[in-house]
């Protein structure tokens, strides 16, 4: 028989202990229910016909043959859904940005705008029949010119996607702090004492690739007017809210279920047309409808990430103090604005232009651009990897220009340690930081001087070893609702949690957040156990079902433990307060004299006179002997709205070797030193770092979406899109420091995205460092062997 591994002994605190995850048994035995595993009585299957054109007029659609195909129950097109389903909304509209929230119909009516745009949906008795019938639908298109590159899309004469968005400009948002123009003018006016470096950086488009494809099961109960929607979502309550806007069903009549979800990385935040089509179909047919994307279908229809063209300049004094940063960014939005899409290159990106550094003068012009491509939205890190890349790349260029060691260059500009609040030029107030601390630890761990020495030796033997060190700081724990409103997010960002004790002393915790691999069924139980002395085995965390759980805004932006965990601990503390009052009554003592320790309430000075939390739970539930005026039950609810964001930080080191004969890169070592505040479960924290670092490595080395000039998705399947594989990777060395967030009840900061925020540029810089002897200063990502080999050949020829 198995028992809970790593269960701490009496002396070990459960908070901070790397216990085994409580969700694992069902996930490891095939007993979990992911959306595509749901099978309902009478369930039928939907398949969606998608546009093969990047841009085209629809002249006509002939569905007659498909309708008569075996097993087919119905075929619907945009003509059927138009006016019945409202457009799919964009929920993040940054203010003062002249944003064009163009209509995004659930199915194209007369125009398709990207390869993958939904054109028709077939419902059949089986999935095979539905897919076969798709081929019988005849769509007559007139192809239109298309554009896929965000910078090209804004050039005059570029094909236009939306009448209401001239030059394909979706928005123009500006971040400004200090006076960047003056700083650059000063640098230009005094070249003796200043340098300016500039660079064009392309953050290629990525496909998130959660291993579970998106899926929906929609079941309409017409008699009650109720919809149940199983959905692969990171935020079922937002789906309920937006589903109600799209379908007109009252929010109170919609139940969204997303308990076991196979990864998201941001790609399951957005509200998608497909789920609404499944809903439309069940409402038409009165039978439950399942739709599950194939992987290739997901590549077209699930959001992509990144896609920035950045023109950046950085100014500094000759002794290496950064004086200004200016950037113009063309951020591809795809054909329509996805749910949170516009917030990513603006709020989550531009506001981080100071990073962990004192950069007094900052200006960013961010253009969101429509292109004939799959919509772009949050992908692990969402805006911050792009900001970190930009900063770390420019600092590396400055260091090279000034011939200062890149580590020293960073040191000269890092913000000094602070414990409670530091204002930066972009207008943010960071919570706490000790950037030097993580940097020192990283350098010490790798023995930086020794590494550089090894590099020098290898170089003298004609071998290419590269080293890079990054320091970063990011914004997460989203966030204060008032700020959310001020920056155009169409919702709140608070969280709620109910802690409920039963008479037997067992506990359910109902949370609004919706973890899907991050392990909060364990960390939240640890929080409650630590706070109330109940063994974790007696605590069950319930999430992901909107009919059962209280409102929450979901799991993204590294906010689940930070914001959701705060709601949990505050509820637990309320339980403790009530427990104290009840214990005082039962022990016939004054409440002030009651102390609490390790699950026991006792009279000060007489620990034998005590009531356990289980005694209290029993009495509160049976309520035979309650103090005057006290309500029965032992349950507490908290709605927690954080006063600030949280700002994890760290220092990462990458060591690579490049084989000049074939351009092959080997990631030799990767060291991540991160500070996310106190760690509730360090094993889970480490796992998050591993996964994040490897996803970031994917962007640097292997991954990238390719569209041809006609908007055809050339990386249309897993055959053509290279994902990180086990044999390509070293063990990631994970270290940490602990700087608590002053404003969070647990001090925690969030760890879900730090890896992917820092690793792409760290690995990129290491490769460029390796190739320095050849004079190579820039390469296009991903750094494929072929690309690197060509650059080496060119450099050697020159």
């Amino acid at each position: 028989m198995t028992k809970l591994g790593g269960t701490p002994t009496m002396t070990t605190r459960i908070f901070g202990s790397g216990i085994r995850r409580r969700e694992d048994p069902r996930l490891m035995t095939g007993q979990a229910d992911y959306t595509d595993d749901i099978r309902l009585r009478g369930m039928v299957h939907a398949a969606i016909l998608r546009s093969p054109h990047a841009h085209a007029k629809i002249n006509s659609i002939d569905t007659s043959a498909a309708r008569n195909a075996p097993g087919v129950l119905a075929v619907y097109t945009g003509a059927d859904t138009d006016g019945v389903l409202n457009p799919i909304p964009c929920a993040w509209l940054p203010p003062d940005s002249d944003i064009k929230a163009v209509d995004h119909p659930a199915m194209a009516v007369d125009t398709v705008r990207y390869v993958g745009d939904a054109v028709a949906v077939v419902v059949a008795e089986s999935r095979y029949q539905a897919e076969d019938a798709l081929e019988l639908i005849n769509v007559d298109y007139s192809a239109l010119p298309s554009v896929v590159n965000p910078q090209a899309a804004m050039a005059s004469g570029a094909p236009q996607l939306h009448e209401d968005a001239p030059n394909n400009q979706a928005f123009h948002w500006v971040v400004a702090g200090g006076d960047a123009d003056a700083a650059f003018a000063a640098a230009a006016g005094d070249p003796q004492n200043h340098v300016v470096v500039s660079e064009n950086i392309v953050q290629q488009r990525l496909i998130p690739n959660a291993m579970e494809p998106r899926s929906a099961v929609a079941s309409w109960q017409s008699a009650m007017g109720e919809l149940t929607l199983w959905s692969t979502s990171q935020n079922p309550h937002i789906v309920r809210f937006l589903c109600s806007l799209v379908t007109g069903i009252g929010e109170h009549k919609i139940r969204v279920i997303a308990v076991d979800v196979g990864g998201g990385f941001g790609s399951k935040v957005a509200m998608y047309a497909d789920e609404m089509l499944a809903t439309f179909c069940t409402m038409q047919l009165g039978r439950p409808v399942k739709w599950t994307a194939t992987r290739s279908e997901g590549y077209m229809s699930t959001i992509h990430g990144r896609d920035h063209v950045q023109q950046v300049e950085m100014a500094a004094t000759k002794d290496g103090k950064i004086t200004g940063l200016r950037a113009t960014v063309y951020a591809g939005m795809g054909a329509y604005l996805s749910t949170a899409g516009p917030g990513v290159p603006t709020i989550l990106h531009g506001l981080m232009y100071s990073g962990p550094y004192e950069i007094p003068n900052v200006k960013g012009d961010i253009f969101g651009v429509f292109t004939n491509t799959t919509p772009v939205d949050a992908y692990r890190g969402a805006g911050r990897p792009e900001a970190t890349f930009l900063l770390e790349r420019m600092i590396e260029l400055l260091a090279a220009e000034l011939d200062i060691d890149p580590v020293e260059m960073r040191r000269r500009n890092l913000i000094q340690p602070f414990e409670d609040g530091h204002d930066v030029s972009t207008g943010l107030t960071y919570d706490s930081g000790n950037y030097q601390g993580t940097l020192d630890l990283a350098l010490q761990h790798v023995d930086y001087p020794a590494l550089r020495k090894e590099q020098t030796e290898l170089r003298s033997q004609g071998q290419y070893m590269g080293i890079a060190v990054s320091t970063y700081c990011e914004i997460c724990g989203l966030g204060p609702s008032q700020v959310a409103g001020a920056v155009g997010f169409g919702g709140g960002l608070w969280e709620s949690a109910i802690v409920r004790f039963y008479a037997t002393g067992k506990v359910n915790v109902f949370v609004g957040t919706s973890p899907h691999g991050q392990g909060e069924e364990t960390t939240f139980a640890q929080i409650v156990s630590d706070e109330l002395g109940v063994p974790v085995e007696d605590i069950e965390i319930i999430h992901g079902d909107t009919d059962i759980t209280p409102m929450g805004w979901g799991t993204y932006g590294s906010r689940t433990t930070v914001v959701g965990g705060a709601a949990v601990v505050l509820s637990a503390r309320k339980i403790k307060e009530k427990g104290k009052a009840l214990a005082a009554h039962l022990l016939e003592a004054a409440e002030e004299d009651i102390e609490y320790e390790d699950g026991k309430f006792f009279v000060r000075g007489s620990p034998d006179q005590n009531k356990t939390i289980q005694d209290i739970a029993l009495m509160a539930n049976v309520a035979w002997n309650m103090p005057e005026g006290m309500e029965p039950g032992l349950e507490a609810t908290t709605f927690y709205d954080p006063p600030n964001f949280s700002y994890p930080f760290g220092a990462h080191v990458a060591v690579v070797s490049v084989d000049a004969d074939n351009g092959h890169i080997v990631l030799q070592r990767y060291v991540a030193v991160d500070d996310c505040g106190p760690q509730i479960n360090p094993v889970i924290v480490e796992g998050q770092v591993h996964g994040g670092v490897v996803q970031g490595a994917g962007q640097a080395l292997w991954e990238g979406v390719v569209y041809d000039d006609n908007g055809q998705l050339l990386t249309g399947s897993m055959l053509d899109y290279a994902l990180p594989k086990a044999h390509l990777l070293p063990n990631i060395e994970v270290l940490s420091t602990v700087t608590p967030s002053p404003h969070n009840p647990l001090g925690v900061k969030g760890i879900g995205e730090t890896g992917s925020i820092a690793s792409t540029v760290t690995i990129y810089n290491a490769v460029i460092d390796a190739l320095k002897p050849l004079g190579i200063t820039k390469l296009e990502m991903p750094l494929s062997s072929q690309r690197v080999w060509q650059a080496i050949q060119q450099a050697k020829g020159a």
Binding site: T2, V261, G691, Q695, L729
Partner: protein
């Protein structure tokens, strides 16, 4: 009909997952007559008469298979979607090579994708299972378990 669809749709054995449509991801790995196959590459009729083992059959009642234990002990899974395929692959890997090196384990996962873990703890889990299963055999030989049951 593909074997994976037969398992999932006809038999209701949904522990085996589908992660791709190009035989890349390994989420669908099952054991057929003792060796692993990607059940999305194989027709159900091809499995006629074969013995198929899926993740549902790995644990012995509530007693987990040592490989499952090792994944649990070493945080070898996050979202769990790749896990059935990983574990089925890993079990066969150790049958062929009971003492793999870390590099051999990584190479053996060539056909399995995981987007959550960065593979590190999967590799660690498999190495730990190798050690444990080996130790187990020793214990059995020396009767090292006897003192537990009285």
């Amino acid at each position: 009909m593909l074997l994976v669809h037969f398992l999932r749709e006809e038999l209701g054995l949904t522990g085996t997952k589908i992660g791709c449509d190009t035989s890349q991801c390994g989420a669908c790995v099952v054991s057929m007559n003792g060796s692993t196959v990607k059940s999305c590459t194989c027709l159900a009729v091809q499995a006629d008469g074969a013995e198929i083992a899926t993740i549902e059959g790995l644990a012995n009642g509530s007693e987990l298979h040592p490989m499952q234990e090792a994944f649990w002990d070493n945080h070898g899974l996050q979202c769990g979607y790749c896990t059935a395929g990983m574990i089925m692959t890993a079990v066969e890997m150790l049958e062929r090579n009971p003492h793999p090196s870390s590099d051999e384990v990584r190479a053996g996962l060539e056909g399995n994708l995981c987007r959550c873990t960065g593979y590190q703890n999967i590799v660690k889990s498999i190495l730990a299972a190798a050690e444990k299963m080996d130790g187990h055999a020793h214990n059995d030989e020396t009767g090292g378990h006897a003192h537990h049951d009285h």
